[in-house]
Symmetry: D2
Subunit: 352 residues, 4 copies
């Protein structure tokens, strides 16, 4: 039984981790960390857990926790883990960090986009970017620190990855228009997240400045072995869960000046995803919908070739709290401990 | 492995049955019946099942199906099963009927409220009303026909049951004000169920005439060993899933003229529900919320004593597609085949 | 031109007052009071007012304001106005108070239900309860202080008023099950009002203890000339606007033991409401829906007689921010200044 | 008093026309055309109009109607008006067509994108494309036929118009990612528009093939005096009303190789819109939100310059049923009859 500690267990991502681990046969949560609710029963914070979780919330003492568990999930604000992580902690316990602290290899980019100083850049090199479908070969029993990807990021990268990897699009033209449900904004009591402000409303935010931008650029840069600079625009949508990305890029024409065909591009997607359990490339003409993946670890992807503009429109959908956060974190945990990668994640999406 | 056939697998309740059975380790669906989508891939009707269910939809031939499976779930319109059921079918296969056809023992009441003639009343006596928490003793390997309770009904009955059973309320004063998410209205393409008609809207319907009324009355009548006549008012709420009932009744005063105390009533609820896995009587002062049971088989219940009026206000919440339909059907199946009652139903509620 | 000051102009009710008064031809807002946003542009708080309102928010100095305007609307927390009101202020300006401070004649009841001491009970006697359809005769140029009714209250009272007034129901059996959109919870940044907590959710709250209860009881007591004690249960619904009440009461039987007929009761409703512009008694069999009155000052009402239980089920719907708050306040202002009662309120409901 | 007839008065756009015209002081509706509800009371179809509209629905006899009214609004399916329009009708009555029949000057493009033959192309040349802010100079008492723009189109064009007109962007790079509330899908009883299918869901549709594409291209082509080919992707959002567009284009660099500054671009927007009542260019840094224009005829617009990519991200928001359909139609009517352009449209947006 893998002993698990969660720091930040009362945010939405933390709560989802708890939900998923309750159904995981080989893991057990020993520590429900929550700075805001210390000594309160966890099931009073999340009433769905009434009579399921009997524990109380505890503080966020990483050092103490490192002695008691096999893996720590940190679903904490930016800078939190970077400020506390030590070699001693890492020598005792594995960490799956759901924050951005170790996602970006170039610390100056991290500091610029996040506007904070990184307190432990020495651990960045060893951190593995835990986008399992791409980096699973790097995650095993020897890995100590996994940087769990962001929600927008996971969706944005996986949707374009095969095209970038195979050099089929001009990455300078890549535009990611992303739409997210409101749980992505967290459980903080802020006016813009009130029901009446979000419901029956839609808006863009963080235009040309959202922090997930450099993370997408870095990872797609590795994929394409080139510098990638994109436009990324997130939007807030009146729904609880779900991210939908619509990505635009100019297709590279073939030697004869024609565009690649649907079949050729489909074959490229299949090359990367046909054997992936959690990535579903849909049938021709079917557009991904967030509802069809809700509650599950799936990413649904498809594309349309626009002959008129020479562009490809790529679409991806996932549940931001599952594949975009807690589900992927569990997937990483499974890899770290040599379990079946889908252990505890075999939920069928819930509809409606 | 229990071989399962579903008639009406493409309605919302049918779809939920499929979702639940995908995670059931001892059952396997062999027949996806759907009159509307014969020969269409099931996953084209429910895109969440893409790459999970490969079968195509088939017709609703009960006789043929009876030869091939161990249990048939009928999630069909009223009168459908009553019109087809035969002794021969029942001799071959168990049936869990999610329609109302065999729920009401007095056929004249059925015919009056449903406005149709019952075509096979001879099977009514043997049908067991499958409200598991109350009737589990009647459901076992010898049972052939289970009448799976309605969604409003399950919630309404369980919420008041201990009070009625123990004679603590005056059932003549019982009023059930019920609120339901829109999946209860089914997947038919009808104008009143369009997004723009339901969203940002709320209404009562079927006032003093809803078909679940006599079902609640009959079952509470058995509980209290008396004739029960209630006011039942359903309402449509702009959410996908969830039923909330608020029930009002005058408390019977004790010999000394006082009302029973909170502790006394709590003890009564605990007597019936403390050991029930799927019924959670909440802590004092906590009102049930539909979101806290979403996606799960739980019913959350609580009550408040109103000293000023001498009434008790009882509240119950469940997911209409799970405990209110498919989940309870699976619970019944588990009883029919001697499995652990919660097999395949151990989902933790999904929040948010 | 009536000069208007608003204290509390940045709450939802205050914002709605601004919206309505922008379309009122005989009133002009001179003072946008808001303790939270002093010196901030009003249109930065409510972006819908961009280029429509150029003013900045000001403090809540009642005395200063009294010198500058003809009427003050106070959309403020309980106890605020009671703590500041003086004879001098009232001698200079009319006040329409949207809080509960002067709604309840018996100050001990106010203090018990609101849990605060009333600081100026001397003004309670002269305050007129501004439910215009009932009390318009008491509101004119000589009135100084109007207690604008609560949202639940307006809907609950108007729905039952004719029946109580004519003695057709047993008020001891009256139960009000009320459902409200979330704007009724105000614009405070509180966790329970976050989108993800409210959306796809429904719950009761304040069971047997909600502060609107004594207000309904007092007013219906005047109507029926008797002591009225009710059960009142509010519920939170995932929609922005709208209140729906479902009320239950036992009908008084006629001398011959029969229940009054539909036509008899309809005639009673028509007696009180046929000539009311803002109260619409619907056609037989049509249930009120909140969406059909959204954005307007209408209250839609209907009823069903339940022969089986001898009860009447009465239903009412209104927009909590209009007829339940700001619209009624404007209606009162119109009466105070001798304008046409519907001036500035002739909005047609907005659908969908 | 302008006498008005509406063909298609029971769709959502038709219903909105009725709502707006009820508050228009110089127009009166004489004919509520609705093929689906002939002889039914209009207020039974739209219960919000109870006691406001007493008329019954009538057929769609254009010829008869032409004799009785001054202007006909046709809120009808594609091809309907084109199939019936005659010189005789146009000689008697003005027509504002909310369908696409006369929007596109090149009939072959119309026939290709709409997949139907155009039955009266002879009237296309005289039809004025009624985007008032751009073409108001072409609409006056002599105009007989106005092609009222589409909802996506109005928003997409107005958002980019100043940039295209002034040649500041490379139109070959223009991408329009549009998001719409569900009322845009109409009131037809279709499964994909059911509450449970739309709620908590988001998807793209009509990718690279939506019919509003050529309309946007044609109008922006006139603006820029060049051939414009764009990528246009509509999305369905779980809200009733509102369109948000996010548009991406590469900025043309200045002679010195630098990008235009915020102030330079703001000046361009102001040049076109500073004196427009219904177009609001927001303050720097404020992103348009659909909720802030709901129920009104406003379009809110803003932009962000992305120095990293050299792109401008332009955003626009409107209410698809008002400025995107009925409001603009009324605005056109006002121009046709020499009224103040904003007559009957001075609604303040409704929030929340």
């Amino acid at each position: 039984m893998i002993r698990v500690g969660i720091i930040g267990s009362t945010g939405y991502a933390g709560g989802e981790l708890v939900r998923l681990l309750m159904n995981h046969r080989k893991a057990e949560i020993l520590w429900y960390g929550s700075r805001s609710y210390i000594d309160k029963k966890y099931s009073e914070v999340y009433q769905n857990m009434f009579r399921i979780v009997e524990d109380i919330c505890r503080d966020d003492d990483l050092e103490k926790l490192a002695d008691q568990v096999d893996v720590i999930f940190t679903a904490t604000p930016q800078g939190f883990l970077a400020g506390l992580l030590t070699e001693e902690i890492l020598s005792k316990v594995k960490i799956v960090d759901l924050s951005a602290d170790y996602r970006i290899k170039d610390v100056s980019i991290y500091e610029k986009w996040y506007g904070i100083e990184h307190k432990s850049p020495q651990f960045i090199p060893e951190a593995v970017y835990g986008l399992c479908e791409i980096n699973r070969g790097l995650i095993d029993a020897k890995t100590r620190l996994v940087a769990n990807p962001g929600c927008y990021t996971t969706c944005s990268i996986l949707t374009a990855y095969p095209m970038v990897r195979e050099g089929l699009i001009d990455t300078d033209t890549l535009i990611v228009d992303a739409k997210s449900g409101t749980s992505g904004a967290g459980r903080g009591a802020k006016l813009p997240n009130l029901f009446c402000e979000v419901n029956e409303n839609m808006k863009a935010y963080g235009v040309a400045s959202h922090r997930h931008t450099p993370e997408i650029e870095e990872q797609l840069g590795y994929a394409g072995d080139c510098k990638v600079t994109i436009s990324f625009t997130p939007h807030l949508v009146p729904m609880n869960r779900g991210i939908l990305v619509t990505e635009y890029a100019s297709l590279r024409r073939k030697g004869d000046g024609t565009l690649p065909s649907y079949e050729e591009i489909k074959a490229v997607y299949d090359k990367y995803y046909a054997s992936e359990k959690f990535v579903r490339v849909l049938e021709k003409g079917v557009c991904p919908e967030t509802k069809w993946v809700e509650g599950s670890n799936y990413v649904d992807i498809n594309f349309v070739i626009d002959e008129r503009t020479g562009r490809i429109i790529m679409m991806g959908a996932l549940d931001n709290l599952v594949k975009g956060a807690a589900g992927q974190a569990v997937q990483n945990m499974n890899l770290l401990f040599g379990l079946k990668e889908s252990e505890g994640l075999e939920f069928v999406p819930c509809f409606p």
